[in-house]
């Protein structure tokens, strides 16, 4: 019953995936949301939506992080999302 080891990743891959799943997902989620609130003119409705949508997106990203084969790929994706959204935010 335990998961088959051949599908699981090595130590370093695992470390990078776990950090990407928790921290990378958090950053990507927050920046997507902040960019969205910014684009929505900081409306109350947009801001209030973040109260629940952040957690759903965070967990979705968390799940996806483990499905990508290489740890640095997932960091690249979440880093890229963070970068693009911060451009929207600051420009």
């Amino acid at each position: 019953m335990p998961a088959k080891a051949k599908y699981l990743s090595s130590k370093w891959q695992r470390a990078s995936k776990v950090t990407a799943a928790i921290l990378g997902s958090y950053l990507a989620t927050m920046f997507i949301h902040m960019a969205a609130v910014q684009l929505a003119d900081k409306s109350a409705a947009a801001l209030m939506t973040t109260a629940y949508s952040t957690f759903l997106m965070w967990v979705a990203f968390m799940t996806l992080a483990f499905l990508v084969k290489k740890g640095w790929h997932i960091w690249a994706i979440y880093g890229g999302i963070t970068l693009v959204c911060s451009l929207i935010l600051f420009l």
């Binding site: 335990p2 801001l47 939506t49 799940t63 935010l89």
Partner: protein
């Protein structure tokens, strides 16, 4: 039965593994949260049980202005800051006041007190007379752990949501078949797995609600902080004013003093406008001045959007429509936080919803336990070394001891509440000490019971006996036996009867239903320590073993699955 398309092989194994790891890591913390949370749902309802001086009817004619004046005379309130007043209700017949006190010109301190009707005696709530509901409620979000407790509970909520999502993904294929898998036969691993999946699917709505709302309450700061810093120039009040627009209205510190109409007149007006609603609380600034701003909380406690906030200047007493929230007519942005709160606290649809929440929460506790047992049974076979299997066994035993001892420990805090004299100084610390000390002791005792079934039965026996004593202790300490309180202060009787019932059920299960024989085969014994080499008769001569046995290195590799 129809099967859904499942995940691919690799995806399935990866999801399975993350589900296992996330589940094992949070399991006992999640159990504590759900178990304490289930009882916390009723923390207001059990207040009259825990504090005998609250076993009075609500005084319809209580003079709230006089009560506030009394509090002011004790604390010298800073009325310019927000003062919150919670009106008496059938569970909590005192008027609660949460206000601010000026320490010096720049800083204020929060205060909390309640006023008894009739005598208008003021009691500081920072030094309460009793604690049961509060202790269990604080345990629910680990408030006893300074600073990080709340965040820890929020993270557990987040990972619970993660475990829920991955759990649904891996069981997706069997979603329909498993739903009917109420099976008590077969191999133990199958029984645990079926119980885990059935309860997981049955509780899914509740689990999603609690994953999201629990993470919201615990991790709110993590979500707010970046937005406040990057979108609102670091000004938190801008965000909070959006949520509570009445707080954005300025009141002048030097507005002329005046005496407004008694609060009761405004309340009568509101009652007339909103028949069937209860006025639950009041938020007020500058109560003693001309521009006094009051926000009244109303609720009919029926629907999920039943709460409302009516803001007015006391000078004219007119509800300011543009910033008030009217029950059932709220805008989307006004509804969200109210919705999250109502869903989390089960504060809608009356007592029936709370009972459903309670039952589902206790079933979730069972689901968490079965998860740990699946993990253990799936690893209890010759593919693992004896050392590993011993490790799995010990982890499971520690988890079970912490979790299952909560039943007797919770009965113990109810007993402690009634056995520590009411006039003993620092009695709340004694009650908390007995609860946490007792829980620790019970956990340590459990580590000596090697079979899970024995451990479970012993806790049921201890807890069952203690449960039976709860109504007896209450009757002897306060004279209020449950047949006497049944009609007057019903909830005192309900708490007594709950413990009486749970005691009977626990003892019945322990004596007549449960057997001693789980796990059927114990994991292999821990390897004996190697015997020390016999002393050499020549002290200087060192003994060299010819073929030193390789000592197996013990690795914490349970995360590898």
């Amino acid at each position: 039965m129809k099967k859904l398309t499942g995940l691919g092989n690799r995806t399935y194994n990866v999801m399975f593994h993350t589900h296992t790891v996330a589940g094992i890591v949070i399991s006992f913390a999640l159990f504590v949260i759900f178990y304490a949370g289930a009882f916390s749902l009723f923390r207001h309802e059990m207040f009259q049980w825990e504090n005998p001086s609250a076993r009075i009817a609500v005084d319809e004619h209580m003079d709230y202005d006089l009560a506030l004046a009394k509090v002011d005379s004790v604390y010298n309130l800073d009325w310019h800051s927000i003062t919150n007043v919670v009106f008496p209700n059938e569970h909590y017949p005192f008027l609660q006041v949460y206000g601010a006190v000026k320490v010096n010109d720049t800083t204020t301190e929060r205060m909390a007190a309640y006023v008894e009707p009739g005598t208008y005696r003021v009691q500081d709530m920072r030094e309460p007379l009793t604690t049961v509901g509060t202790t269990l409620y604080f345990l629910h979000y680990f408030r006893q752990i300074p600073v990080i407790g709340l965040y820890l509970s929020g993270l557990v909520g987040l990972f619970f949501l993660f475990a829920t999502v991955t759990g649904v993904l891996i069981h997706w294929r069997n979603l329909f078949t498993k739903f009917y898998a109420f099976v008590r036969e077969g191999k133990w691993k199958t029984i645990w797995t079926n119980a885990h999946t059935v309860l997981g699917i049955m509780g899914l709505p509740l689990h999603l609600i609690y994953g999201i709302t629990g993470a919201f309450f615990g991790l709110l700061n993590l979500i707010l902080l970046p937005s406040v810093l990057l979108l609102f120039d670091g000004d938190t009040s801008k965000v909070f004013n959006m949520i509570r627009p009445e707080d954005a209205i300025e009141v002048a510190e030097d507005a002329p003093r005046t005496q407004h109409k008694p609060l009761m007149t405004y309340m009568a007006d509101i009652q007339e406008q909103f028949p069937g609603y209860t006025i639950t609380r009041l938020k007020v600034r500058n109560l003693d001045r001309q521009d006094a701003l009051a926000t009244w909380g109303i609720d009919d406690h029926k629907g999920i959007l039943s709460s409302g906030l009516l803001t007015m200047h006391l000078a004219d007493g007119k509800v300011m429509e543009e910033i008030s929230t009217i029950p059932y007519e709220k805008a989307y942005s006004q509804s969200i936080i109210d919705l999250i709160t109502k869903l989390h606290f089960g504060d809608f649809g009356g007592i029936l919803i709370k009972i459903v929440y309670f039952v589902l929460s206790i079933l979730t506790c069972f689901m968490i336990i079965t998860g740990v047992l699946i993990w253990q049974t799936a690893r209890d076979n010759p593919r693992y070394t004896d050392k590993q299997r011993q490790f799995h066994h010990r982890v499971t035993k520690v988890y079970l001891a912490i979790c299952l001892s909560m039943f007797p420990a919770f009965a113990l805090i109810f007993l402690a509440n009634k056995s520590i004299p009411m006039d003993l100084a620092g009695r709340v610390d004694w009650v908390n000490g007995i609860f946490f000390g007792g829980w620790l002791l019970l956990t340590l005792m459990g580590l000596r019971w090697n079979r899970y079934a024995v451990l479970n039965k012993n806790y049921l026996n201890i807890g069952g006996l203690m449960s039976l004593l709860v109504p007896v202790f209450n009757g002897m300490a306060t004279g209020d036996w449950f047949w006497m309180t049944w009609n007057s202060t019903s909830w005192v009787a309900y708490v007594d009867l709950f413990w009486l019932g749970s005691g009977v059920v626990a003892l019945y299960l322990a004596f007549f239903v449960l057997k001693d024989s789980y796990p059927p085969k114990m994991p292999p014994k821990r390897a004996q320590k190697a015997k020390p080499a016999t002393k050499s008769i020549h002290p200087k001569e060192t003994v060299v073993e010819k073929n030193p046995k390789k000592v197996p290195v013990f690795r914490f590799n349970f995360l590898r699955g």
